[in-house]
């Protein structure tokens, strides 16, 4: 079905999604979910898995239909496709992991309006073959995921002294006065700002370099 993607293309797509055009620290998209679901690593992992699934498959589906879809209604079709995959995730969670669905609250449903998904479908899926669109979606979602996991790890360890629910040495012990603010909403803003700052210093944008 999907034409094979050349190795060099694949490297380029991977590098862009994960690093050069990273959705979080470069494009600063999908920030609402970054702030909302990163207080526990377990919630973040499930959220990231849901986004990887939704983004790669909806980009590929948009790409498959791209020659057929009339241009003037393409956004409606994209939203429909994204909603389709998100509902599938939501139904699966409701059936097999209701506790996690309750933890994530409305945020699974809100993947529909996650700007990264719509952004990749519009900017890439619409104009590239399905194989490449799938990879682009996959690597953008992975780029989003690894930043979220960094934020979540710091928040959970500093705020609760645990990682994935089990105590970590030192931070879980009495010597560490837990920074509860890290697992509350303000902690997300602090951590996200620090992470974006650090990554932008490591990898400045072209226009920033030119100055």
């Amino acid at each position: 079905m999907a034409p094979p993607v050349a190795k060099s293309d694949m490297r380029k797509i991977a590098l862009q999604g994960l690093w050069r055009d990273n959705p979080i620290f470069r494009q600063v998209l999908g920030i609402c979910s970054t702030l909302a679901v990163t207080n526990l690593v377990a919630n973040t992992l499930v959220m990231c898995t849901a986004l990887v699934f939704t983004l790669s498959l909806s980009a590929a589906t948009v790409s498959i239909l791209r020659t057929l879809t009339p241009r003037n209604i393409r956004m409606m079709v994209e939203t429909l496709i994204i909603a389709f995959y998100v509902i599938i995730v939501d139904v699966v969670l409701g059936a097999y992991w209701p506790a996690m669905r309750a933890n994530l609250g409305p945020y699974v449903g809100l993947i529909i309006t996650n700007c990264i998904v719509m952004g990749r479908c519009e900017a890439y899926g619409n104009s590239h073959p399905p194989g490449e669109a799938f990879l682009d979606g996959l690597f953008n979602a992975l780029g989003y995921s690894f930043i979220l996991l960094i934020v979540a790890t710091f928040r959970e360890v500093l705020g609760l002294g645990t990682f994935l629910g089990s105590p970590v040495p030192f931070f879980g012990g009495p010597a560490w006065d837990k920074w509860v603010i890290m697992v509350m909403p303000p902690g997300a803003f602090f951590m996200l700002a620090i992470v974006v700052w650090v990554f932008r210093s490591i990898q400045p944008a072209k226009e920033e370099k030119a100055k």
Binding site: P70, M76, V77, I88, G105
Partner: protein, 205 residues
């Protein structure tokens, strides 16, 4: 055909129909599991308000076993409440309540001791209030307030006062920033308690 003016309409219609059928099929396949999960959430909520039969973190099978073994279904004597019985006597009631919340229905249970007055707990098994505001009603910090409160014989059985206000034996603090949820929940609980009292005759001894 693609240039025709009606083509986008037809296309959208067909695409929507195709994707929707898959979603509908998928939902139908998982319905049984979803219903079983909802049933378990309800059973856990019933156990949670009855004294001495529940601790957090119980597995689904254990919740179901305890529910079946220890909880009696509502009957005439209990006024629509589930009951915990010891030696044939009612030890506590778990009274279901439901009503419109801020966004969608709130459903839960309030536990009442055999004296018909002392609250043994409150729990929710269905609500979609605003996360961080109204949805705080499901947190232990809010729910624990109800334990050992005395339902008033006159006036409202339970009052929700603004956060920080002084509390009487039938008052709890409302949720900060969630006036609508608090006001509605107060009315839902009080209506359920009043109706229940009129049925079991625990109104004014």
């Amino acid at each position: 055909m693609r240039e025709k003016r009606w083509f986008p309409v037809l296309y959208m219609f067909l695409v929507t129909a195709a994707f929707s059928s898959v979603v509908i099929g998928f939902t139908a396949v998982t319905r049984e599991r979803v219903e079983a999960n909802e049933r378990l959430a309800f059973e856990a909520a019933v156990l949670a308000v009855l004294p001495g039969v529940y601790e957090p973190g119980l597995g689904g099978a254990e919740v179901h076993r305890r529910f079946v073994e220890q909880v009696s279904e509502p009957d005439d004597a209990s006024g629509g409440a589930y009951t915990l019985r010891q030696g044939g006597q009612i030890a506590a009631y778990a009274l279901p309540f439901d009503g419109q919340g801020f966004w969608a229905p709130i459903r839960g249970l309030i536990g009442i001791a055999a004296d018909g007055k002392t609250v043994t707990g409150i729990s929710f098994y269905e609500q979609t209030e605003t996360p961080g505001l109204g949805a705080e009603i499901v947190k232990a910090a809010f729910r624990n307030q109800f334990k050992d409160k005395q339902l008033a014989r006159e006036g409202q059985p339970i009052n929700m006062k603004r956060p920080g206000a002084e509390l009487d034996e039938n008052d709890v603090h409302a949720v900060t920033g969630a006036t609508q949820t608090s006001v509605r929940l107060e009315a839902i609980i009080n209506r359920a308690v009043s109706e229940w009292r009129s049925q079991v005759g625990k109104g004014g001894e």
